[in-house]
């Protein structure tokens, strides 16, 4: 009974914030980018599942012990696979497609837009300004 009580207390203590507000803010932001492994599409910051609670506790422990954000991410990834990361990694081909793709599209779009505009200008030597 006492052991049970103790474990409940630990479980509850898990959601107690860290003393240092800056560390707590870092921990909370990590909780928002790590995925609860037992839930459907929810970060650990937003799940009532026991595993999410354990994960929150682990994040706070690691931050409290002085781990960097990246060390926390790496620890969870080594434990649960990259599935746990809501911020996908930038490495490899898939990382490049995901992280560079949108900006590349923007550049390509801008180039196409500029070329279209240039062609339009070539259509006519004189463009009159006209107010709407």
């Amino acid at each position: 009974m006492k052991a049970l009580l103790l474990s409940v207390m630990i479980a509850l203590a898990t959601d107690a914030p860290l003393q240092d507000p800056a560390e707590e803010a870092r921990a909370q932001s990590l909780m928002r980018e790590l995925r609860c492994v037992a839930c459907e599409n929810e970060p650990v910051s937003q799940s009532a599942a026991p595993i999410a609670e354990d994960m929150r506790a682990r994040i706070r422990d690691m931050i409290g012990e002085g781990s960097s954000d990246q060390e926390v991410r790496d620890w969870f990834e080594s434990r649960y696979g990259e599935f746990v990361l809501f911020r996908p990694k930038g490495r490899g081909l898939s990382g490049a497609v995901l992280w560079i793709g949108p900006f590349l599209l923007l550049v390509v779009g801008a180039v196409i837009g500029l070329l279209t505009a240039r062609r339009k200008r070539a259509d006519s030597a004189r463009i009159e300004s006209e107010d709407a």
């Binding site: 009580l5 409940v8 207390m9 479980a11 509850l12 959601d15 107690a16 914030p17 909370q28 928002r32 980018e33 995925r35 459907e40 599409n41 929810e42 970060p43 910051s45 937003q46 009532a48 696979g81 990259e82 599935f83 746990v84 990361l85 809501f86 911020r87 996908p88 898939s94 497609v97 995901l98 992280w99 793709g101 949108p102 900006f103 599209l105 923007l106 779009g109 801008a110 196409i112 837009g113 500029l114 279209t116 505009a117 339009k120 200008r121 259509d123 006519s124 463009i127 009159e128 300004s129 006209e130 107010d131 709407a132």
Partner: protein, 626 residues
């Protein structure tokens, strides 16, 4: 009753087929009449379904599976579309409804064009009706009828969520009619001023309900899920955001076609894309391809049929564009520094933003197909989608004053100085006073920039201050919408950077500190509703002289064997004090309740901003006779 409705649905399918044939043959009057007949028949059919839900007729399999006698009437009725078959019936009804409305409201003096648009709409309606009747029938009987129904997902028993699907469908299906107009315009090779006037109206008619529908869904997630967030970058949310972004691009592009007969092919393509993204959104949600907290009606077998339909529609729509699109030519020349250039920038950024959402949403699915599990979530979109859109929003106040063809670019330096000053002020305040990140300070500056820019532009259009209330509703619509974007950004930035959350465990009679408030747990009692029972906490919250009572609940719905959270929200004027009740635990020998308490500053601006965007759309629809 249901049999009559079932029969009427078959007749409606017949009417839709007739509408397709007559419409494509160019018979405007007959196509219009069949469109109205089809809608009338399906409306009757849909009402028989609603009736069966209202009176809890459990001999209907759908009612038995999704309803319950103890449910409040609103949720019995909303239960009609809170399931796969019923929502498809609603989809088909709205598709026919847009055809009927268009047959009355279209005024282009081009009979053949209008007939063809009705024909294409009839074709889409026939597809929806065929799917409904042959793959997803809501009309099936049960024998013997059970005495009680299995209930509706309790999460859906909520006023905001009752009207969320009909609003979204009005938006999604609205774009099907915009597509029908584009298809008819491409068939006759005329995407011109007259076409654009008509298409613009229908684009707005789709955009406004889509905006409201998304806002309702987001507000529901905010207070019902109990985690204090309002946008989760969940695939189902993304599915509705993509057509919204394309729709916003279309609203701007179609103006260029209307005023200058430029961008004809591009506007047609955006109309096609808005339609395809809409049905893809419906497919993603309804097929069960995504596992997500929001996708309630899941069925992979039907998903295959829907996917096939999506690909067939996509191939036809894009094929039509590839065939007829290149023939469409813009009329007047323009420079980069012109309103055309500004609209082009708008379109490029919004389309790239939509594609970014698409990439982030589908990438995990593709990875999974390749045997790799991964996740894409909020941090990804914050680092890609947000800066991409920011590029456009920085430009907006400057470029919205540009003239058609060739803009007066001498104002550049003034704008640059004003913008730089604004950023400098907010950066100094943000870092020095508010202790927020530079990114957040920039976000606030951007919000103020947009609101100020919108007012500046209104003033410019009105020429003198006295004439501000005499500018056209369209200009007011634009002003409201652009100010709405600014308000939304301020709300979103303040809420996401300034939100704080804590957990407190209280026994009855205890007090605790959370997010700057002193909370006292007066009582936790059991109460009973029509189809649920609940633990309800009474918390007194005090901060300085302000005192309020929060009553969060944890409900349990026995029919569905599911719990839900009902959060308690107190609007302090600067934000929401938000409490959700969690588990009961024994700590230090005492039974304590765990509460999650949040303070969400300026969250109302998020919703106010989105509502203003919708209101701006409504204003833009108003036509003034001069």
């Amino acid at each position: 009753m249901i049999e009559a409705g079932h029969f009427a649905a078959f007749l409606a399918l017949g009417a839709a087929i007739a509408q397709t044939i007559l419409g494509l043959r160019g018979e405007r009057r007959w196509a219009g009449m069949t469109a109205i007949a089809g809608f009338g028949l399906m409306a009757f059919s849909f009402l028989t379904l609603v009736h069966a839900f209202a009176v809890s007729d459990f001999s209907l399999a759908l009612v038995a599976k999704h309803s319950h006698t103890l449910k409040p009437m609103l949720y019995k009725i909303a239960g009609t579309w809170g399931n796969h078959e019923g929502s498809m019936a609603l989809w088909a009804l709205v598709t026919l409804g847009f055809g009927a409305a268009a047959s009355v409201l279209m005024k282009t003096d081009r009979a053949t064009f209008e007939a063809r648009a009705l024909g294409v709409q009839g074709f889409l309606a026939a597809g929806a009706m065929g799917y409904l009747l042959f793959a997803s029938s809501p009309y099936l009987r049960l024998d013997p009828a059970p005495f009680q129904g299995a209930g509706l997902n309790p999460l859906l028993q909520d006023p905001a969520l009752s009207f969320h699907p009909p609003m979204l469908y009005l938006g999604y299906v609205g774009y099907s009619f915009v597509f029908a107009l584009a298809a008819a315009g491409m068939m006759e090779g005329r995407i011109d001023r007259v076409w654009a006037k008509e298409a613009r109206r229908w684009s707005l008619a789709a955009f406004v309900p889509l905006t409201i529908g998304i806002a309702l869904g987001s507000y529901w997630a905010y207070y019902e899920l109990g985690w204090g967030g309002w946008w989760f970058w969940d695939p189902v949310e993304n599915a509705s955001l993509m057509p919204w972004l394309i729709g916003a691009a279309l609203l701007h592009s179609v103006i260029v076609t209307e005023k200058r007969e430029n961008f004809a092919a591009w506007t047609a393509l955006l109309a096609v894309l808005a339609f395809l993204f809409s049905i893809m959104g419906a497919f993603l949600v309804r097929s069960g391809v995504l596992t997500s907290v929001h996708a309630f009606a899941v069925d992979p077998k039907r998903g295959t049929i829907l996917l096939f339909g999506l690909m067939a529609y996509g191939a036809m729509a894009l094929g039509l564009f590839a065939w007829r699109g290149p023939g469409l030519k813009g009329a007047k020349p323009w420079l980069v520094g012109s309103r055309e250039g500004a609209m082009m920038a708008n379109n490029i950024v919004l389309v790239v933003a939509a594609l970014t959402v698409l990439l982030g949403t589908l990438f995990p699915l593709m990875a999974e197909a390749a045997g790799r599990t991964m996740s894409v979530g909020e941090p990804y979109f914050r680092l890609t989608f947000v800066p991409i859109l920011a590029v456009l929003l920085v430009l907006l106040p400057v470029a919205q004053s540009w003239a058609w063809g060739k803009a007066d670019m001498t104002q550049w330096t003034r704008w640059a100085i004003a913008g730089a000053a604004l950023v400098a002020v907010f950066a100094a305040l943000g870092v020095g006073l508010w202790n927020i990140s530079l990114g957040a300070a920039f976000g606030l500056a951007l919000g103020v920039w947009l609101i100020g820019g919108a007012i500046w532009e209104l003033r410019r259009r009105a020429v003198t201050l006295k004439r501000v209330f005499r500018v056209s509703p369209r200009v007011w619509g634009m002003t409201l919408a652009h100010m709405g974007v600014g308000l939304f950004i301020i709300g979103a930035v303040v809420e996401t950077t300034g939100r704080y959350e804590t957990t407190v465990a209280l026994a009855e009679g205890d007090s605790g500190e959370a997010v700057g408030w002193t909370l006292t747990l007066d009582d936790v009692g059991s109460i009973e509703g029509p189809n649920w029972y609940a633990d309800k906490a009474v918390l007194t919250a005090v901060k300085g002289k302000v005192k309020t009572v929060l009553e969060p609940m944890k409900r349990y719905y026995p029919a569905a064997r599911m719990p839900t959270t009902e959060t308690a929200i107190f609007k302090t004027g600067t934000g929401d004090l938000y409490a959700a009740i969690g588990e009961q635990r024994v700590v230090d020998g005492k039974a304590r309740w765990v509460f999650r308490v949040y303070f969400n500053p300026l969250i109302d601006l998020v919703y106010l901003g989105v509502l203003m965007i919708g209101l701006g759309g409504l204003f833009s629809l108003v036509k003034v006779k001069r």
